[in-house]
Amino acid sequence: MERREFFKKAVVTASTVAFSSNILKAGETTHPVDDRKVTSIAFPEKRPMIMYSDRPPLLESPREVFTSALTPNDLFFVRWHMPMIPSHINTSAFRIKIDGLVDKEINFSLKDLKTKFKQVELTAVLQCGGNSRSAFHPTASGIQWGAGAMGCAVWKGVRLKDVLEHAGLKSFATWLGFNGKDKAVYSETANFIREMKLEDLDENVLLAYEMNGEDLPYLNGFPLRLVIPGTYSDSWLKMISHITVTKEQNRLFFMEKAYRIPDNECECETPKKLVEKTKPIEKINVNSIIGYPQQNSKVRVNAHIVVRGVAFDAGSGIKLVRVSIDGGKIWRDALLDKGEGGNFAFRAFRYTFKPEKVEKVTIMCKAISNAGDEQPLAKDIKWNHGGYRYNGIDEVTIEVV
């Protein structure tokens, strides 16, 4: 039987991450930083990952995780907003409360959720809106993530719709406000509350308690979190404990100011001229990443190389992944897995080749969705102040020796 061992309080000295000076001209997007090492220390239930902060915990998955369609729980990225996370959850006392414009206020235990409602399993990508932010120049606002602020898991839980139906929604109910158990240091500070329009709620939105067949890892929102397939993770609330149904939107800080992009055609702006009208980041855009080989790795001439990676979009599904091994001149189709995880999941791809010359080879991959969207080149991605929604074509350069 698995016994969860948690790391005792340990003190580590982290060297500061070095940032290259800002020599690029304004607005020029490159590739996200790709040379950060995992830390020497593991966080609870995690293997060592790329670490940006311990309080609140911010952990990124290393590139090699993206060779398979599911991301292991112990390497799955972590991002909290509030530094005060309860250090203990009493699973029998834990309740999720639903109040506001409902016929009856509800306080469900985990057992209630697991026994009173249909259990649903769904595979979906969880990706931070600021994933790959370090690709933006000048430096965009926020944690300078590489490409690993994302992952894909099988989520198991109950449909939020079913639970709300049980509570009975009043006819003028329009907004859902979600709150979790994490808190700011000062009690008067606003909580990390996210809001969703009731009309955006479909049968894919889950209150999930399991991830890849295990209980949710603590740092991924144990014991209960929201799963909103196809959207960026900003509203996938962790340790969710309270849902309030309202008529009007509350317009709280984290909805009004955070996770927003320019509301114009190109969804872009310049540092000198920020766009005033903004909109939420919402749907994830088509993207793909090479999990193997790693940047700057060496391979032998005539070695049999299998490039592996994953591709995904907001739910139309991946139509095609194309790979180039000559820096983008010739593109050929990669082999896709069967797509058994469904349209919200990572689609694993592979591409085989044999390098015949001693040289540097630049491997690139680009995904095309069923909706017809195709990834742009990194340099063609337009700047926005928050460094959101990067989906530039990934590339890895290896040395054939």
Partner: protein, 102 residues
């Protein structure tokens, strides 16, 4: 019989003991660059979050650090007195700046 007992154990584990004891996230001591205002800035930022949260924003303009500091005060109630704002902003800009005023 043995597997039956194991099944019961597994079942009870699932329902009751997901988190076995308290969680402890390791404390990480992020090194700060030496400079004027270092001590004061450390104290103020570390009240709420690790210094990693600051330096991993990347090197930024003076205006950026000023806006962030004000956000910390206004949104997160950071206990930074008005007279101390400049100390914090100057330290951050001088050590984690991009040489741009805005």
């Amino acid at each position: 019989m043995k597997s039956f007992i194991l099944l019961i154990l597994l079942t009870s584990y699932r329902l009751l003991a997901q988190v076995n004891g308290d969680i402890q996230v390791p404390y990480v001591d992020f090194e700060m660059k030496k400079g004027k205002g270092e001590y004061s800035t450390r104290g103020k930022c570390n009240m709420c979050h690790s210094f990693g949260y600051v330096i991993n924003q990347g090197n930024q303009s003076r205006k950026f650090w000023l806006k962030k500091t004000i956000k910390m005060i206004e949104v997160f109630n950071a206990p930074i007195a008005e007279k101390d704002i400049d100390v914090v902003v100057n330290y951050l800009y001088e050590n984690y700046g991009n040489r741009e005023e805005e």
